[in-house]
Symmetry: none
Subunit: 533 residues, 2 copies
């Protein structure tokens, strides 16, 4: 009861995730519609307050997203559509940007407007008064359509430094027009943290509306600037997962959220349980983008709680808080020791639990499995991105594995005609198939041989396929890691293969994917009710 | 004259670089003696005040460094040796740590001591008074040997929060013993920026000695925390190049220094000319470590001044300061335009400019090229990730393309033996090669055929290879996009190929990569002096 009261009285900071909008403006960043849906569902499960899904006026892919996401029921997050204030030469009723937000049929609109007088006169080329009218009319119009409106004051901090009266006038206008949140944006990311604090504090004294902040990392202060703004009174933070975004990126929510909760005492997301999902969410975004995770990333990186062997390791076991700023498990991460076989068994135990297998984490068979997994990791595997392959190794050690697929021989021939021929000898059966690429050809031949005996395999579909070079030295002789995600329509699982040949690595991951499904269906006769990704 | 006076009166912040000491404690970081010498000379040229060369008591490689570096005359930097305060059970005269600093025969000693009472009683296991004596005696001893002494107060901020009186007593003791600089360390990197500011300010009011700061990046605030400490009165900053270091790393000097100079008005290094070397220094450290440079790194990353949206590109050409927080050339970096489905001809124009081609953005040929590019993007291409392939299309439209590589036929055979055979008929020559995978096999066969005629191709190396499925529906029949990054040691370029076959897509990207290089070298006879990635 007392605990409950505490939670009620704890101040909250709401989170707007713009991975799908501002994040997608980063170099080398591109999401498919499926990616966007997958990410939105994951963000909702994490507990963010708003998901900025895209800019419906700017491209058809974003418009499709708003249609598609309606088919899902989200538990908490509100979907927000992004856009600009109205054009200078159109009325609100005719304005395509505002109307495409309304057409997106969402509950929340995020619109950005000019608050730096340089931009008003030099870029937008209107008078200061005209810009105030544009801001006022645009917000009023969206409000009149029943939308919650978040107003992003673009380049606010630069604007305030050069022409504070006008910058304030713009956001006062937005407040008067009924904006529900006014987010102060450090659009070019160049404002140092002490200025963010001072300016935000002044604004907090002037306005009554809920204030937000939108920061970028151009001087390496994206995260700190968001924290300083909260310290100055902001209660709404915008950012992206892993800090992806234009130039040096947006503020990284993965880094901001734990500090807000653990060091500043705010209530964020769905409370502490949400924090434990942070590492997983961070990983999935990297994987979708085909990027290797940043091992040095604060809170969630592989090295974030890495300790060297020896005295230090011993000391950290006795007095962890003497060496660690937080308990790594709070953010779903792990203490890592250079010499230790202990780290990881807990991980495996929790994976096995998901498929109905209960094993003690000190079980010798588990330790043997872990040693095999770690050895493979030195060769380019990464347990995080293809856990089903690691589970197969573990099932073997636990004597819970049955041999359903015995591949004796395979061969693929590709040529410039575009066609590939796959030949497979599996379970003593030789099959040949034509495919549009090597993976497709082998996949077809494999299925021809296996489906007769295991008809359940026809339910299995490949839904994602990624290749990266995990090693430091990269050339055409490098080891490649192929990750494949499968689904049977109910559950998803990910496998991986590592080889110097992209074809061989693909074949390995393909076989693991079918094998894993057969182990679940036929050996364990149990299906997890959750994603194992 | 007036300018000169201004410089004289400008306040300075001194920089201690600990790349060679704290940096080398990072995971997967290891420097050879030669590396260390090379880095030290580069840091001296950059203009840092102190180079912390290593911990002579802890390993022989560090001792050798101090001997070797004496053979060089440095223009400005002072070499500093690192160590701990004396052991609790030895006298200063017999203490190996202190004496190895003295033996290193340097001008400056950096020693760290306990300032968090938890560490004093739980880790060091001495009384608080004993620790004060240890600090006092150690500094006195080094001073009596004529050394300048920088005292690093380990875990100072944590110590201050738990036991402020004692933390202050420790640094007052260091001051009384004659320390020249007292650096407050956020050793576990967990202190938020507003606390760093408040605590540092209090210390500044109490002590008279020059204050320094040593921060880590565990909550993503390493850079901001150093800046906040300077704002609170610190005039000595410790960090590493690229932020390498234990766990999530040290504060990144490459990010701190430009903000101190360009945004806070301090005199750092050898003034503004030094800033222009920052990108080069950052690159060299990555190269020595065999790590890919971080394209999102503030100030110096490839994407730090990258613009993607078309309208935006047009505007930044007209009013750069409306979109860029600093002029990129100040830190030796470049503005970059990203080619994508959103971009207009302005992006293409600026790319072409870099390879010496001037075309008007309204040129019809350019519009035709852009239409082709946009059409390909609907088929899965994404030219922001492989712009060189887009340039090849544009060169064809501009009639500036020459046909050097004419592939008539190719074939790859892969099988479970692990070996791949690549067969290529290019420019009427048939070649066959064995490779460890299909891409390697084709790469080898292609080069065999082409290098006789175009020997320059032997300089071209592949440095990155990525595969993703860009299409909405993902299965083994989906289109895959392969992106390859190449280098000739001077410039880098990225190409892409799209096909339902991962092998074909790889072959396309490979051929484009070699073709682009030949166009630059042979047709245009001009090489950009900057990266085109």
């Amino acid at each position: 009861m007392f605990f409950h009261l505490c939670l009620v009285f704890k101040k909250s900071v709401e989170v707007l995730d713009t991975t799908l909008r501002d994040g997608s403006q980063g170099a080398n960043i591109s999401f498919t519609l499926n990616d966007k849906i997958k990410i939105a569902l994951m963000l909702d499960e994490l507990g963010v307050d708003y998901i900025e899904g895209g800019w419906p006026g700017s491209n058809p892919k974003d418009e499709e997203f708003f249609k598609e996401i309606k088919k899902y029921s989200l538990s908490k997050a509100k979907i927000a559509a992004f856009g600009s204030t109205k054009r200078k030469d159109s009325s609100v009723n005719e304005d395509t940007s505002l109307n495409s937000i309304i057409k997106a049929d969402v509950d929340v609109a995020v619109i950005f407007g000019k608050s730096w007088s340089l931009h008003v006169t030099e870029v937008l080329k209107v008078t200061k008064q005209e810009n105030l009218d544009i801001v006022y009319d645009s917000i009023k119009y969206l409000k009149s359509h029943g939308l919650k409106v978040i107003f992003d004051a673009e380049h606010f901090y630069q604007g305030f430094k050069e022409d504070p009266e006008y910058a304030i006038e713009v956001i006062k206008t937005a407040e008067a027009a009924g904006a529900d949140v006014i987010a102060l944006a450090d659009t070019n990311g160049g404002t140092p943290p002490f200025e963010i604090f001072e300016i935000t504090k002044k604004v907090r004294e002037i306005l009554n509306v809920k204030l937000g902040v939108h920061t970028h990392n151009d001087i390496g202060c994206g995260v700190a600037n968001a924290l300083m703004a909260v310290k100055a009174g902001v209660r709404h933070v915008q950012g992206t997962i892993n800090g992806i975004g234009e130039r040096t990126g947006n503020a990284d929510l993965v880094q901001i959220i734990p500090t807000l909760m653990l060091k500043m005492g705010f209530n964020v997301l769905n409370g502490r349980e949400s924090l434990k999902k942070l590492r997983e969410v961070s990983r999935l975004i990297y994987e979708i983008l085909g990027l290797p995770p940043n091992p040095y990333q604060p809170y969630v990186g592989d090295n974030a709680f890495a300790h060297k062997a020896g005295v230090h390791v011993d000391a950290v076991m006795k007095v962890p808080r003497a060496y660690e700023h937080i308990d790594p498990s709070l953010v779903g991460n792990d203490r890592k020791f250079v010499i230790s076989e202990l780290s990881g068994t807990a991980n495996l135990v929790s994976y096995l639990q998901k498929i109905g297998i209960v094993v003690d984490k000190k079980d010798e068979r588990l330790k043997r499995a872990l040693n095999k997994i770690k050895e493979l990791e030195t060769k380019g595997y990464s347990f995080d991105v293809g856990p089903a392959s690691a589970i197969l190794i573990t099932l073997r050690e636990l004597n819970m594995y049955e041999n359903y697929i015995n591949v004796e021989y395979w061969k693929v021939i590709n040529e410039n005609s575009g066609l590939s021929i796959g030949i497979v000898k599996v379970n003593s059966q030789l099959e040949v198939a034509e495919g549009v690429g090597p993976v497709n050809a082998i996949d077809k031949a494999l299925r021809m041989a296996l489906q007769r005996v295991y008809p359940e395999i026809s339910d299995v579909k490949l839904i994602d396929y990624r290749v990266i070079l995990p090693s430091e030295i990269k050339n055409t002789e490098s080891v490649v890691r192929v990750t494949i995600e499968f689904t049977d329509g109910k559950i998803n699982w990910r496998t991986e293969g590592v080889s110097k040949s992209v074809v061989e690595a693909s074949v390995m991951a393909l076989i693991d994917g079918l094998d894993y499904y057969l182990q679940l269906k036929k050996t364990l006769k149990v299906l997890p009710d959750k994603y194992i990704t």
